[in-house]
Symmetry: C2
Subunit: 264 residues, 2 copies
Amino acid sequence: MSSTVVKALMLLEHFSEDEPELGLSELARRSGVDKAAVHRMLGAMAETGLVEQQADSRLYRLGAGVLRLARVRETAFPISSVVQPILDTLSAETGETAHASLISGRALANIATCESKKGSRVSLIAGEVLPYHSTASGLAVLAFGDDALLQRVLSSALEAKTRFTVTDASDLRSRVDSTQGIGFSESDQTNEEDVHGIAAPIFDRTGSACGAVSVSTPSHRMTEAQRNLTIGAVLRAGSAITDGLGGRLPRSYADLVAPLVTGA
Amino acid sequence: MSSTVVKALMLLEHFSEDEPELGLSELARRSGVDKAAVHRMLGAMAETGLVEQQADSRLYRLGAGVLRLARVRETAFPISSVVQPILDTLSAETGETAHASLISGRALANIATCESKKGSRVSLIAGEVLPYHSTASGLAVLAFGDDALLQRVLSSALEAKTRFTVTDASDLRSRVDSTQGIGFSESDQTNEEDVHGIAAPIFDRTGSACGAVSVSTPSHRMTEAQRNLTIGAVLRAGSAITDGLGGRLPRSYADLVAPLVTGA
DNA sequence: CACCAGTGTTGATAATATAGCACCGATAGG
DNA sequence: CCTATCGGTGCTATATTATCAACACTGGTG
């Protein structure tokens, strides 16, 4: 069913800013894989430097190899350096936390963020993996990305992250449809309590969505005025990032959002 | 003998700044693995976002997943941000290209660089994988790192990168010994033609070398004065990085290099 | 136009690496 | 001292993987 390589690499998703170091048993428990198997996989990934094991505590963490890989990717395709300043502007305009993510296999990878300056703000876990079905960013990608991706997500299990998460495929389908109709996506507490998200797609050269840019606002602070402000800003940011990456807005999409962008 | 995971991850080492995108057949040829196997491995790595395939050209490249992983690692253990300013200073002091690398499984991973401002300079391929036996950085790590690592390298095949590369284990052994005696390592055209390297070890909390910092100078420009200048600067940089990462210089090492550091 | 040398991709089968289990020694806490 | 963890290790059935061939497709060439 699933290859060993996939199983091994999925282990990496359990490392986060909060828990950068994990033990063998802990990792086995969370992934639901046998300890012995986890041990072998980690050993294999350690050989290539993707993870490394602390000599004393025996804990595992992401290795120096990931830094090297990121350097290669970033020098060849400078994404972060293009995205970061646009996110900074977006966060300043809206006063809230902004982040950008790209399609990364079965999920969305958060690759850059700019946190709000306010005391009460939405704080993202750096490098978190975002599900397609429960985030505004995910909706935006599903609505304007490859149709095969949408089909795959619709036919997969939709995990309930909160009591508001859309777990029914046809419900998700209709939300995707409405996103396609308005040019941006919106989610309220579907991935995390008290977090409201508004996202716009980022397009690649072929005019297909390859990622999304989003603003996360504490739900209680989301007013009508703030919402309108945010929509315009996010759409402008999405367009700017698309341009910066050498992507192309589909004609139909550009026409769709034109009034919203200029109106802001 | 070797696990599938290792074989798959070794494919990633063929991506570089120069060739960020590779085709399936090309990758199969270089790795010496069957085309079909490479295809499945890349497919598996694409599922987790470690690589991605261009929709039109069908070429593969490193995916957004590596950016996410690097973010997690860097926010938890901020290495690059500590190392970069020290490298900048080192490059300014010596007028040449400086770089730092960390142990990454079977090889050294170049994780940060600062290029010389001169027209004629040593230009590094970003994210290159550096062999232990043919680089000054590698020598420094072997000399002051874990003994098990040294043994493993000594008993492995030593590929000749240039006609000056040390390919004999006992020769390498004696070079390691002399490095241990003087506190820094030196290499002349052993990894690349016309490149001279001087490197100092970086130590972790346990007092074992976990990486190295190095200055690369065009061989023809390496004079006695430049050499003395560089040695002092590299040793200071190594010590500074070790401090910045929370590492600890072994007492014997600190005593060994003390006269060289203060003399500069 | 037919051909050729490439490419990426997909089956089939034989071979092999893997998963899962129980087990070990070590460590820490009650 | 006993229990409950921990990280790590052999073992064998089994499931995954390697290998080969053929496939459809592309672009250049005689």
